[in-house]
């Protein structure tokens, strides 16, 4: 009888990739529902478009890669990888993060770029250095600034009734069935184009308005930002569900939100006229989605406990810097990519101590490397 010798951890939870991905997708449902409730059918259409494109691209690349070898096993391998849920999750995240009435080709280009270039060209699931959904989002934002910033205000503020067929028409032709263009849809009753709360705040600050004066506008609603606050709350709910289920580590989102709290609190105490409150920062834009669903990506994030804390804090700091001083209204996607870049370095310096070894100094850790 031979002893099976393996390094720790010895206790496996036997979870498969697909079940984890499925859990994350389920956790996104409250957010998607809130998005549907406040912004209409647009994002659901984008999600389905993105999923179809992503699966098609994934199939294309996988069949290219497993061209040689046994037909039957190759088919099985492709099927297993195709439906492991990672491509679907990426597509769902892209669909959620796009403006609801963006044209259809935005989604198609974004999903194809995420799967082919960001994920599969680097070697597929587990090898991509950047989060595919956010890399695709940034690519779209840089390439098509007009379409990617044409956010539609919440349904309650729209003067046009945006039904399912109307939304479909808008996404595929650029006009509603009554002939309203996207620009007209975004216009409020008095003719001004409405933007997202973050965008409005940024524009108003450049016009010399204080935050209080800006907050009077109707896109902010009664509390922080109409629609967006509930959207973020729903994502927070889904995120908490994931933490309870132990699908994601609590360190990243907690340190991200704490870091954002500290940054915005300092700014708010120094000049409340030019900086929004912490609650506004927490509950607007893609804050909660980024904190619980994007930064916690096990592939592109830091892996050690300390590393996760550092990465979350760094991301929160970047989000604050970009939102308050940068050129773009929301900075979640950019800060996620920057942190993805930093993750290997953070991991390098936060290696946990191996059981039975002394706390690592650079010299001893290099000796351990040699011993391996």
């Amino acid at each position: 009888m031979a002893f099976w010798i393996a390094s720790s951890p010895h206790n496996h939870n036997q979870a498969e990739t697909s079940s984890l991905m499925r859990l994350v997708i389920y956790a996104l449902f409250p957010g998607i529902f809130a998005q549907w409730y406040f912004f209409g059918w647009g994002n659901l259409i984008h999600i389905s478009l993105a999923v179809a494109t992503a699966l098609f691209c994934e199939f294309l690349v996988l069949s290219l890669r497993t061209k040689h070898g046994n037909q039957g096993t190759a088919k099985q391998a492709i099927n297993k990888q195709l439906f492991d849920g990672s491509a679907i999750l990426t597509a769902v995240l892209i669909g959620i993060s796009l403006p609801a009435i963006a044209p259809w080709w935005i989604t198609v280009i974004g999903a194809a770029f995420a799967i082919v270039v960001v994920k599969q060209l680097y070697g597929g699931l587990g090898h991509n250095p950047f989060n595919p959904a956010m890399a695709a989002y940034v690519m779209l934002l840089i390439s098509f600034p007009v379409q990617m910033t044409s956010w539609q205000p919440p349904l309650a503020l729209l003067s046009v009734d945006l039904s399912l067929s109307n939304t479909l028409n808008t996404i595929f032709t650029g006009f509603t069935s009554e002939g309203y263009s996207v620009e007209q849809l975004r216009a409020s009753v008095d003719g001004y184009t409405m933007a997202t709360p973050l965008d409005t705040l940024k524009t108003d600050a450049s016009l010399g308005l204080t935050v209080y004066e800006s907050m009077e506008k109707q896109v902010f609603g009664e509390h922080f930002s109409l629609g967006w606050e509930w959207l973020n709350a729903a994502f927070l709910l889904g995120g908490l569900f994931l933490i309870v289920k132990k699908a994601i580590a609590w360190q990243t989102p907690v340190s991200f939100l704490a870091s954002l709290l500290i940054c915005t609190f300092i700014a708010y105490s120094i000049s409340p006229d030019s900086s929004a409150s912490t609650m506004f920062h927490w509950l607007s834009g893609g804050c909660m989605l980024g904190a619980f669903f994007i930064l916690t990506d096990p592939v592109t994030g830091a892996t050690s406990v300390k590393g996760r804390l550092i990465m979350g804090a760094l991301a929160g700091f970047f989000v604050y810097i970009i939102r308050d001083f940068g050129g773009y209204p929301d900075g979640v996607a950019f800060s996620v990519l920057l942190c993805n870049m930093a993750a290997p370095l953070i991991d390098q310096y936060t290696r946990p101590r191996t059981y039975g070894h002394k706390a690592s100094t650079p010299k001893s850790s290099s000796k351990q490397e040699e011993a391996k």
């Binding site: 270039v117 690519m139 840089i142 390439s143 098509f144 379409q147």
Partner: protein, 272 residues
């Protein structure tokens, strides 16, 4: 990616030694030797062409001069302009470096090469300023920056400073064409993806008649900015290099089959 910067090893000029010893031989022998030398020279030229255009392409394999390669290839016209300028500088500098190679002290050869290259770049820059002002303006700083293009000083150091003028200029020509072709392909990809056109603004480089060259491949409502911005150049460059490697792998895969066939040739003996 592994670094493929192995520069072409200088072909040994042992044919010169061969000539000296051949004086004793008969005229017939001499003629044969000359023929051999001619063949060797031909082979060397062929090798230089293959190295410059494909095997050791400055853009795709050596990955030298990436700064202009990525910065100005947003349109075919810009790429062509910079490619031609680089080609001219490369040929002239290779010829000059080769011509003075016996009188350049080894210790200070690099500054001398740089001075020579800078002189030719200044000439090219002034010429473009005079005759193709539009393209001169759109190339901007990247025209004088040809001085720092490592592909040029690399050829001067690795080949031209060790070989006769003819071969050195031919090497410069081939390397320059190889570089220009990569620029043009990259420019074409980026222009089609970014603006949906080809040869947009060719009249800036080639004169007014060239405005008819402009091809509208497809109509875009909004530009695909990524293709026009530098990140798009990096991504497109990666795809071109991958394509080149795929072609090389394909050629390599086919190679052994041919030799196998040669071995399997049946020898037939006729007894009668």
């Amino acid at each position: 990616m592994t670094n493929n910067n192995e520069l072409v090893s200088t072909p040994e000029s042992n044919s010169e030694a061969g000539i000296e010893s051949s004086t004793e031989h008969s005229a017939e022998n001499n003629a044969a030797l000359q023929l051999e030398k001619k063949m060797a020279l031909k082979k060397e030229y062929k090798e230089l062409a293959i190295q410059g255009l494909w095997k050791n392409n400055p853009g795709l394999v050596q990955l030298l001069g990436l700064c202009p390669l990525l910065a100005v290839t947003a349109t075919v016209t810009n790429a062509l302009g910079l490619g031609l300028a680089t080609l001219l500088v490369l040929v002239c500098s290779n010829a000059t470096v080769s011509a003075i190679r016996h009188w350049v002290p080894k210790e200070i050869r690099i500054p001398i090469f740089v001075l020579i290259i800078a002189a030719f770049v200044t000439c090219v820059q002034l010429l473009m300023n005079a005759y193709t002002f539009g393209i001169y303006q759109s190339l901007g700083i990247f025209l004088p920056l040809i001085v720092t293009n490592c592909a040029i000083i690399g050829r001067a150091e690795a080949y031209a400073s060790k070989n006769p003028i003819k071969q050195a200029s031919f090497d410069g020509l081939m390397m320059g064409i190889g570089f220009a072709l990569v620029l043009i392909v990259l420019g074409a990809i980026r222009e089609i993806l970014g603006q949906g056109t080809l040869f947009d603004g060719a009249n800036l480089l080639l004169g007014d008649w060239a405005s008819v060259l402009r091809i509208e491949v497809y109509q875009l409502d909004s530009q695909f900015l990524l293709a026009i911005l530098p990140p798009g150049a990096f991504i497109a460059m990666g795809f071109i290099i991958a394509l080149k490697n795929a072609i090389d792998a394909n050629i390599k895969q086919r190679q052994p089959k041919i030799t196998e066939q040669a071995i399997e040739r049946v020898r037939v003996n006729f007894e009668s």
